[in-house]
Symmetry: C2
Subunit: 289 residues, 2 copies
């Protein structure tokens, strides 16, 4: 009977191994999938930041524009690496963890089958026991029951042995996969972080080399241009709204404006104002070229 | 009139500068705050993974247990650095961006004040214009109006000049802050990623040095122990449920069990038969000890 008990505890130990794998690999899978999704969301958010940085760059003077564009491009590069990280996590970490579902199901089925065979042996032994108690003299019946019990015992041995092999293979595979999956996880993360360090180093140099003074000079020139030195620019042509200089103007001012509008056509060449942007851009482009 | 126009366009250019800063700094602030929150969520998810890895480690054999614990500790270390990243982003990137709100409000108020002064000048000039048309002979009135217009013009000049200085300072501060904030962002990210590379390198070595074979031998010994020599392993001791070997057992089986339990004590030593494996287990334990 002790044999039955020890067999049973072996099967229990195996069940325990498989349940444990099922439980924890399931957890690892769902947590790492969630980790990957959150990484993807971080990438999305950074992509939005890249877009805003680009838009902002386009509203700024050439010096800052170039710096911001370079910086935004570096930030975008990090997101490309993050995207690669996400894809690799899915392929090399989450997918193999998901595969465990199928593998565990198969091993579970093997355990169940083995238990059925074990239970059959027990029944045969019980039958034999009852016969021996009730009809100790019925040699033929007892002999038959002994044969059945023996056959059941052989089945159980074979089944338990097979199960032991299955679970052994399962465990070996589990340990190998565990090491491989987490090594892959670490490698993927390591590669991403190393790439990020590389790109951010370049981004840092970009920001360091930004010539703030030059940018400020541009800004001042632009403001001075707006103040009165843009006579060379036919700005009003491109900006119809600029023909209304005082948006908050009262009626009386509007009449003044009408007056101005007439003047404007005549004096387009020295209509000075608005957006020396164009002007400065021309200058800067020259400088940049 | 051209002077008024150019003044107005200067104020417009200033307004534009400030509105642009307001718009984009606002966007940067909200996107980077969101980026930081998502980073914090990634940290939380990884913390959960650390916890599960620790729990899992405690269910495994010593070799894997040690490896998984070391790995989990490294993963936890990365999260500590991520937490530092989150805190530093909040302090050095998001907070300064938020401060822009107040600064922009002040500059906006300065612009509004300047516009009021400008509008007053325009009104004085209109008044003067009307007088000249309606009562060209009223020298005294015209003279008074001329004085008022002149005074208004002086006010406007002063106010516009003051505004130009304010906006100039604003722009200089904006450019400096922009460079500083994004340099800080890049530095914070760079430090985090560099630390992550460092810790993951150690984690990789931990996983590489994991002795899978030794672990598998432990497992096999444990399984064999469960099969017959449970006296050497505290497996059954810790698992009271193991005293009921067949959870699906029928009544009749339970009576058999009662019988078995009695036998167990007597025949524990020679429950051997089944498995030649038994011997090996003893050996392994010896080896491990």
């Amino acid at each position: 009977m002790n044999v039955l008990l020890s067999r049973d505890s072996q099967v229990r130990a195996m069940e325990n191994t498989v349940s444990n794998a099922e439980r924890y690999f399931g957890q690892f899978c769902s947590l790492l999938a969630s980790y990957t999704r959150k990484t993807a969301r971080l990438r999305d958010k950074a992509d939005q930041l890249v877009k805003q940085l680009m838009d902002f760059a386009n509203t700024e003077n050439p010096e800052l524009r170039a710096t911001m564009k370079d910086f935004a491009e570096d930030l975008a590069k990090v997101q490309d690496y993050r995207q690669a990280e996400v894809e690799r996590l899915e392929a090399k970490v989450i997918s193999p963890l998901k595969l465990y579902g199928a593998q565990i199901k198969q091993t579970r089925a093997d355990i169940k089958k083995c238990k059925r065979v074990q239970n059959n042996e027990i029944k045969q032994l019980e039958k034999l026991e009852k016969l021996r108690q009730k009809s100790p003299s019925d040699r033929q019946m007892i002999s038959q029951a002994e044969t059945s019990a023996q056959r059941a015992s052989v089945d159980t041995n074979r089944s338990t042995h097979h199960l032991a092999e299955t679970v052994d293979a399962f465990q070996e595979q589990k340990l190998k996969d565990l090491r491989r999956i987490f090594s892959d996880f670490v490698t993927i993360e390591m590669v991403f972080h190393a790439k990020a360090v590389e790109v951010y180093s370049s981004a840092f140099r970009t920001l360091e080399s930004y010539d703030l003074e030059r940018d400020l000079q541009d800004f001042r020139a632009k403001m001075r241009g707006a103040y009165g030195h843009s006579e060379a620019r036919p700005l009003t042509d491109n900006s119809p709204s600029l023909s209304v200089p005082w948006p908050l103007a009262s009626q009386s001012v509007q009449s003044t404006m009408a007056h101005q509008e007439k003047d404007e056509e005549e004096s387009e060449a020295d209509s000075v104002e608005e957006i020396p942007l164009e002007d400065l851009k021309g200058q800067h482009q020259g400088r940049r070229d």
